[in-house]
């Protein structure tokens, strides 16, 4: 336990200090993207990694969070940060019925169902123009003033955004850690192994999965809110896309399913590859996502961090 506390503290300190290492805004952007991707991976992992329910539709929750945040600010004048939290809550609310429907299915059928649900949500967002402005998307020109310790925060630079995403990511990792040590976490692992056995052990497998999904969706929803405020523009193809859902799967799988730290590794990989190839080939980075996914599944199914952790004896839990 204390080994974990030490690591956790070091990570927190590193996170706090990182942006101060340089004044280069591009570097700050990279850090933000790494943390954003980490949060997505962490959130996906709660459901996908721990309970083995592979969702290809998580972008639905991201989009719900993003649109909620934008619309609450643009149409009702809410503070965008309040909207962000509300976006997470809304995504959580939406996740429950989706889960109750989709969890009747197992394995790949579940995955396909999530894909179908996400596509339906995307198509609705695309076509319900009176609500979402359809393919035009939504734009936020500048963020309202917010004062911290008497000083107005300058939202034109990247550093404040960094701290917001850092807090959210730490929150996600904290939630993951707490769950992994709790009864819920144990139940999730049982569900991943064998649903019938889990039921026979007295575990309510539907409720267990719905709770995991709800937590996962809440985190992704808040990430969506962040996306909206950082990029200031969203449209259905950006936030509801299948590609985004697959990226989340990638981050968690490459990093290490069912580990707290795995998604960071996966996120670093993803963002690094993204940036290297963004200049040269337009979507060349996707080639490497695909390739890496294949290599990892074949040779390192427990993920990079999963394998490292096992080798370094940081955990006795087999992937």
């Amino acid at each position: 336990m204390s080994k974990n506390r030490v690591i956790g503290t070091l990570v927190a300190l590193a996170l706090l200090g990182a942006p101060l290492a340089t004044a280069n805004p591009f570097f700050h952007h990279l850090l933000i993207m790494v943390l954003f991707s980490t949060l997505l991976g962490v959130a996906w992992n709660l459901l996908g990694g721990y309970s083995g329910q592979v969702s290809f539709g998580h972008s639905a929750f991201l989009g719900v969070g993003a649109y909620a945040t934008m619309l609450l600010h643009l149409k009702l004048g809410w503070s965008p940060w309040l909207g962000l939290v509300f976006g997470g809550a809304l995504a959580m609310a939406v996740a429950v019925p989706i889960g109750l429907i989709c969890f009747r299915l197992r394995g790949p059928y579940f995955s396909l169902a999530t894909l179908a649900v996400a596509e339906i949500v995307r198509l609705v967002a695309l076509n319900w123009e009176s609500l979402t402005a359809g393919p035009q998307g939504l734009l936020i020109t500048h963020l309202p003033e917010l004062k911290l310790f008497g000083q107005a925060i300058d939202w034109e630079t990247k550093i404040p955004f960094y701290y917001v995403i850092a807090v959210l990511t730490l929150l996600g990792m904290g939630v993951t850690f707490i769950v992994s040590q709790s009864r819920l976490g144990a139940y999730l692992l049982a569900v991943r192994e064998d649903i019938d056995s889990a039921e026979a052990a007295g575990i309510d497998t539907v409720r267990t999965r719905v709770v995991a999904l709800a937590l996962s969706a809440a985190l992704v929803g808040m990430a969506g809110g962040f996306y909206a405020l950082y990029f200031r523009y969203i449209d259905p193809d950006a936030v509801f896309s299948v590609a985004l859902s697959v990226e989340m799967v990638f981050i968690a799988v490459v990093g290490g399913i069912a580990t707290t730290g795995g998604p960071i590794v996966g996120a670093i990989f993803l963002v690094t590859i993204s940036e290297i190839f963004r200049e040269r080939f337009q979507s060349g980075h996707l080639i490497f996502y695909g390739l890496f996914m294949m290599v990892i599944i074949r040779y390192l199914p427990e993920g990079i961090w999963g394998r490292l952790r096992f080798l370094l004896r940081l955990s006795t839990q087999r992937a």
């Binding site: 290809f56 429907i101 299915l105 649900v117 609705v124 697959v246 996707l286 080639i287």
Partner: protein, 288 residues
């Protein structure tokens, strides 16, 4: 009345191609119990194969079927033997993720080499369309329809009349018993995957003169074909055929009577409903 008839005809023609792609997907599932997320990319490869042999070699796309179908068969066998074969033992989840990765890889390699520009093939007989009984029928699509039926019928005879075909059906029913009977299951898996890929590629070739071609077309196609396969019952060939035609009809009529925008949604909603209430397919033919 004419509009309905027109919709129905278009729907059936398109549906026959969906059916062919879905049959490829369903035999792979029936025999190997895997869900191949890269199936759509196989169709895409067939499409581009036809495009390049037409553009660079002047070969009529339907004639190029003779080149591409065996080529895709070989490619499928290669994928199974060297890539997928080792993954299947890792479980359904791993196989799903692996084939998702493969799908990303193939689609984006294609994007890299061939760019995202929309291409199309203009064959001499592409227009004007035929007008039997006042209904407009595109000539290439009609030819595709006929060939799709021919190929699917050929597959049917292969599966029911030849030894290899019977071996495939036996493996689909029970791989362990099949192995005990002396069937080389690894070889059957290779042949089955080859066949599935060949069907997908062939469908791509047949569709090439009728659609706009772009490397990421596989994404939407694979989802649609899963809808078909689930509608018809996973593992059932007649189900896949019926399901394909049904989807073609639903989309065609949906575009006219509901809205063009939401026509794709109808398929997905139907899909969810079937998964929830009749997971063995509308006709109860599938295995769950």
């Amino acid at each position: 009345m004419e509009t309905i008839l027109q919709s129905v005809v278009s729907g059936v023609l398109m549906g026959s191609l969906y059916a062919m792609i879905a049959v490829g997907l369903t035999i792979v599932f029936g025999v190997m119990r895997i869900i191949n997320m890269a199936h759509g990319e196989m169709v895409m490869l067939g499409m581009f194969g036809a495009f390049w042999s037409f553009t660079l070699g002047g070969i009529d796309p339907f004639v190029s079927l003779l080149i591409w179908m065996p080529a895709m068969f070989a490619f499928g066998m290669f994928v199974q033997r060297f890539l997928l074969g080792k993954i299947i033992a890792g479980g359904e989840l791993n196989t799903l993720l692996y084939t998702a990765g493969l799908s990303l890889l193939i689609a984006n390699l294609a994007l890299l080499f061939w760019t995202g520009d929309y291409r199309n093939i203009n064959v001499a007989y592409g227009s004007p369309p035929m007008r039997p009984f006042g209904i407009s029928v595109s000539v290439p699509l009609a030819i595709a329809f006929v060939l799709a039926i021919a190929i699917t019928t050929g597959l049917y005879f292969f599966l029911s009349r030849t030894d290899t075909g019977r071996a495939i059906r036996a493996t689909a029913q029970n791989p362990d018993s099949a192995a005990l009977m002396g069937i080389n299951v690894a070889r059957i898996d290779m042949i089955t995957f080859g066949l599935g890929t060949a069907l997908a590629g062939a469908a791509g070739v047949l569709l090439a003169p009728s659609l706009y071609l772009y490397p990421t077309v596989g994404e939407i196609l694979v989802v649609k074909c899963f809808v078909v396969v689930v509608l018809g019952g996973l593992g059932s060939i007649p189900g896949a055929i019926a399901g394909g035609i049904l989807l073609g009809l639903v989309e065609s009529l949906g575009a006219v009577y509901v809205s063009v925008a939401y026509k794709d949604t109808i398929g997905f909603v139907l899909f969810l409903l079937v998964l929830l209430f009749r997971p063995s397919g509308l006709f109860g033919a599938g295995r769950t």
